[in-house]
Symmetry: C2
Subunit: 145 residues, 2 copies
């Protein structure tokens, strides 16, 4: 598998590469952000829990067969610990409907862990958002301890 | 706020107290598992993203006004780092329908962080599961590094 293009030096770097890979439909770039661990977990909106790199790769490959995924992360809430980070994002996902293109909201939890190979994703849990996600003040990262 | 009854000495302890509190409809016990952080995140199935302890407490209190929540965690997948843990669980949730009680599946991602006050929950993301969640082999925890 190709090495990641970026060094994945921070959770933000890794998250940026994840969404770039979705938008480009680039399966190798996408898989390069994941930790090499058999228990990594991915849940697509409305989909079953996928465990392990093989299952995750197969599902993304199936999705990319229909085109790239125009998901734009917004309103990121960050919680950083020493060797892990949890990002909660609202994704604006552009989808094609009978009435033309429109955006739907998806709520995603992305968890990153610091490894010898940089910050890697260990969990992506995405589910349909409410039509009107409430807005909250403050987007600054916090350190728990 | 009352102190937690248990020392929350491990992510499993904290998770056990979380689900006990749901099953007992005990709001103080439930809130005692959360980290004291303004950016903690909770997402109920189909609901909006809730950020911060006040919003999370208000929503659970509203749910408990209708009774406790009979959610039973199963098939837990654990990923542990030094000071954080991600648990992916399939919840069997007992709900009342016009045809009587039945169980629905919910997929939940629970993230815990080690603090001076023990392991605390920083994220609970729950979304409707597929009717037939695939089964996977292996439930042992892994250490990423």
């Amino acid at each position: 598998m190709p090495r990641p293009l970026a060094p994945l030096a921070s959770p933000d770097d890794t998250e940026a590469q994840f969404y770039e890979a979705l938008q480009q439909g680039d399966i190798d770039k996408l898989m390069a952000v994941w930790a090499d661990d058999e228990d990594v977990v991915c849940i697509h909106p409305g989909g079953p829990r996928l465990v392990g790199l093989s299952a995750i790769r197969a599902q993304f490959a199936a999705l990319f067969a229909h085109g790239s995924i125009q998901a734009q992360p917004e309103r990121v809430r960050r919680m950083h610990a020493h060797d892990s980070a949890v990002h909660s994002v609202i994704e604006q996902v552009r989808v094609m409907t009978e009435d033309g293109p429109r955006s739907v909201l998806v709520v995603a939890t992305n968890v990153y862990v610091k490894t010898a190979l940089g910050w890697r994703m260990v969990c992506h849990h995405a589910s349909p958002g409410s039509p009107h996600e409430p807005t909250e003040a403050g987007e600054a990262p916090t350190t728990l301890h």
